[in-house]
């Protein structure tokens, strides 16, 4: 006996929603999905009419769906936004160059301007070169820190007012779990925010319109809408710590599908005791980017790479920041510590 769609109650249901378990037909699902993103945008007041918004596009499913939905909602509800695509080339052969082709295709399909910034031109290092020096364990740190700055620099080049990224509910839930496992109280408080609140030059606020959309629903949406995207895992990702949190979350979802939203709800309602030390936002003394230390993480990592000390920046080296700033040479013992790499 065919199951009827629980939305329109007329057509046959084509899929079961992972989020709520309801069976829906295609049109009702599209409607529900798009409407939810719309309500998230409106409730959180993410955009103002007349703004230029950069969509961080990697060619993967999240950013492809994000670009599609943003364009659609912009027209349907007259947000009055000017949309652009912004992409970052980390220099990972076999992964990023393929996904960039997808972004170029998106640009043509949606007729949006596109800007690609690469690590090579910004920092002088590609991820492949970095991994050769750093090894396979801590490379995600380098990639993440560099990408954040790359996005900001690209946004300034494009002159956009805001950036929106394709982070979905699974990503946010994973981040909450990972921060609990790492004991990172400061990030724990900030990671469930839907948009960043930093002021200062060189920083463009960024938001996550897909924050409450499940990853599986994004795939379902892309599948039924026949959106084209690039779907391989980054070749360096299997060794990341985040993988543990991800596996755990996937298992949780299989036991209870609402777990992902429950984790986000917990994360939003956490409150930290008074008197716990929190980092204060300042600026980097070398490049002027925002930072909570004397030198921003990017500068520290880059310094480490350029000097052949790959462990600089992994672990705590507050006292070394002053030395680096004043261009003093490091002692032999410190150098020896920073050189050791575990593969």
């Amino acid at each position: 006996m065919p199951v009827l769609c629980s939305g329109c109650k007329e057509k046959r249901a084509a899929l079961k929603r992972p989020k709520t378990g309801h069976s829906l037909c295609k049109e009702c699902f599209f409607w529900a999905f798009e409407e939810e993103v719309h309500r998230t945008i409106v409730a959180a007041k993410l955009f103002k009419p007349g703004e230029t918004v950069g969509i961080a596009a990697s060619g993967g499913k999240d950013s492809t769906v994000l670009a599609h939905v943003m364009k659609l909602l912009n027209e349907r509800y007259s947000y009055g936004l000017e949309l652009m695509l912004l992409s970052v080339d980390e220099g990972i052969t076999g992964y990023r160059d393929d996904s960039l082709e997808t972004v170029k295709r998106n640009q043509q399909q949606y007729e949006l301007p596109l800007k690609i910034v690469s690590y090579e031109e910004l920092y002088g290092w590609t991820m492949d070169a970095i991994v050769k020096q750093v090894g396979l364990k801590n490379n995600c740190t380098f990639c993440g820190v560099f990408r954040r700055q790359a996005l900001d620099r690209g946004a300034i080049m494009l002159k956009v007012d805001k950036i929106c990224t394709g982070h979905n509910a699974d990503d946010v839930a994973e981040t909450v779990l990972m921060n609990v496992l790492r004991g990172d109280i400061a990030r724990l408080r900030r990671c469930t925010a839907i948009s960043t609140v930093s002021e200062g030059e060189g920083v463009v606020p960024r938001c996550k319109p897909l924050k409450y959309a499940y990853e599986k629903e994004i795939v379902l949406y892309a599948y039924f809408k026949k959106l084209d995207y690039f779907s391989t895992e980054c070749v360096y990702s299997p060794n990341a710590y985040r993988g543990h949190a991800r596996t755990f979350l996937k298992d949780l979802e299989s036991v209870r599908p609402s777990s992902i939203m429950d984790v986000i709800h917990s994360g939003e309602n956490l409150s930290v005791r008074d008197g716990v030390k929190m980092p204060v936002q300042g600026t980097c003394n070398r490049c002027g980017y925002i930072s909570s230390q004397a030198l921003c993480k990017s500068c520290v990592l880059l310094e480490g790479l350029n000097r052949g000390l790959p462990k600089l920046g992994i672990g705590k080296h507050h006292r070394l920041h002053d030395k680096l700033l004043s261009q003093q040479p490091l002692t032999e013992r410190e150098e020896r510590k920073l050189k050791s790499v575990d593969f």
Partner: protein
């Protein structure tokens, strides 16, 4: 890794492989008997000292237990709670250095009915434990979980908390106690032996039905925890205890923290895993064992012959993915193998949390969850996960407007809340209630339906309720308290425009 102010000052030294022929790191004389963390080898004597010291330090640092107070020790028979019992016994014994100064009692809750044990098995376990309790000389109470069906509804209603006892009074209290010590301390001969009364089979059956009405193991475990806690608190109240000591150790609390996050209890984390839990007002739950890892307790119990009795629980011998609690437990233990600092990191995180907003003692009872008695976290704010779930529920049941040619509704930021939200309660399907509510307090609330109970629960208890097939099996005290709160909130709605201040006429 990413903690503020954490500085690895010393260089990375080669880790020495610990071996038993090494000397104890503390006294440096005796040969080592046990390795606690990598590199920390202790001899028997120093280990015992370390263990006992931790317990005293935990109690002394927090200064919550006042001298002469009656404290109820919740013993489940497992290694952690039996260790706690032996620590208390040691601490109170006359030859202890710096004696502990409170009067303990023991409680054991027999949950065999839920797990499916036979009457004979239950009696045997109880007898074994009672022999252990008699040896300590403290008064003990054995309570069957079936008694939860007879609880009064005052358990989930707020009882007034005693006046605040700030730390400065602690020293005075100690002074007073020391002066009047010899006469008031209860001597071991007046034990109250409540041997397990015969539990009528109908009660056991009813309890099993209640637990069985929850369809998932996660919900069952959650429900069981709630009922157990209610029974604990009620017994403490009736027998005149003001504090209850729970035997949760560090490992279990780390698992509990992660489980609470995945169940949506982020707002109540501090109470679930902190040292003291004051949600019940006059009874405070205390967790003195929270600094001990399961490994340390196991070593101690083995080396110093602390007896414990194994009692099966709902998730004994189940697969990894049977419930969220079970899954989290296996995740943490596996992760701990690869990253030995996992449990202690999670534990430190729990120390930095606090309860959201106002202190739980002062909140109105209607703003507390009916089941877990914590402050409600279901205030629907703009752009919150809770609102998103309500939106999804609603949209999944709405027709796609495009095909029929209906106008796509314009959404202004003001009216962004989903339309199912007209009443203050949190269910999208609740629209009908507002109209019904006008009929006066007596006639309207005939049978509490699932949707009505929802508004009285916090986020995670709502999830538990969702997994239950029907609420009629819930014990009477919960249902009658639910009805009472609903009547009260209806009264409030009727006269809301005439009330001058919030919080006037609180319960």
């Amino acid at each position: 890794m990413c903690q503020v102010e954490e500085d690895y000052r010393d260089g990375l030294e080669r880790v020495e492989v610990p071996s038993v022929s090494k000397k104890c790191v503390k006294c440096k004389e005796a040969s080592a008997a046990v390795v606690i963390r990598a590199g920390d080898t202790y001899c028997r004597g120093c280990f015992k000292e370390y263990f006992i010291h931790k317990f005293r330090a935990m109690l002394g640092k927090n200064r919550i237990i006042f001298p002469g107070e009656k404290v109820l020790l919740a013993v489940s028979g497992g290694p952690s709670s039996c260790s706690m019992l032996s620590q208390v016994r040691e601490g109170l014994s006359l030859n202890a250095h710096k004696k502990l100064r409170f009067s303990p009692g023991i409680i054991y809750i027999d949950e065999g009915g839920v797990v499916g044990q036979t009457v004979e098995e239950r009696r045997r376990t109880v007898a074994e434990l009672q022999a252990m309790f008699k040896a300590t000389g403290f008064p003990f109470h054995t309570v069957a979980l079936e008694q939860v069906l007879d609880l009064p509804s005052s358990v989930v209603a707020m009882a007034p908390s005693p006046s605040e006892q700030p730390a400065s009074n602690y020293k005075e209290a100690v002074g007073h106690f020391l002066q009047s010590t010899s006469s008031s301390r209860s001597t071991p001969q007046d034990e109250e032996q409540t041997s397990l009364p015969e539990v009528p089979e109908a009660h056991t059956h009813f309890l099993q039905q209640l637990i069985g009405s929850a369809k998932t193991l996660t919900a069952r475990q959650d429900l069981l925890n709630t009922l157990r806690q209610h029974l604990l608190v009620h017994t403490a109240r009736t027998e005149g205890y003001s504090k209850v000591m729970l035997g949760d150790n560090c490992t279990r609390l780390a698992v509990k923290l992660l489980t609470s996050i995945t169940l949506g209890r982020g707002a109540q984390l501090a109470q679930d895993t902190g040292f003291s839990d004051a949600r019940y007002g006059d009874i405070t739950l205390v967790r003195p064992m929270r600094d001990y890892s399961a490994k340390e307790i196991a070593y101690y119990n083995h080396m110093f012959s602390v007896a414990s009795v194994f009692t099966p629980s709902l998730d004994t011998k189940t697969t990894d993915k049977a419930s969220i609690q079970r899954l989290t437990e296996s995740f943490v233990t596996k992760l701990q193998e690869d990253f030995p600092s996992t449990v202690s990191t999670i534990y430190r995180t729990s120390e930095k949390l606090q309860t959201t907003c106002r202190s739980s003692a002062k909140a109105e009872p209607s703003e507390k969850c009916l089941l877990c008695v914590c402050a409600l976290d279901t205030a629907v704010e703009n752009a919150s996960a809770f609102q998103a779930t309500l939106t999804s529920e609603q949209l999944s049941q709405t027709k796609y407007p495009g095909a029929a040619g209906t106008e796509i509704p314009r959404q202004n930021p003001e009216s962004s809340a989903p339309s199912g939200q007209c009443c203050s309660s949190g269910g999208a399907e609740d629209c009908g209630r507002a109209e019904r509510g006008g009929g006066g307090c007596c006639s309207s609330a005939k049978e509490p339906e699932t949707t009505d109970l929802k508004s009285l629960l916090c986020y995670s208890c709502q999830l538990t309720l969702k997994d239950m097939s029907s609420v009629e099996h819930l014990p009477q005290y919960i249902l009658s308290e639910a009805q009472r709160r609903q009547r009260r909130s209806q009264m409030r709605e009727e006269i809301s425009e005439f009330l001058l201040e919030d919080g006037e006429g609180g319960d």
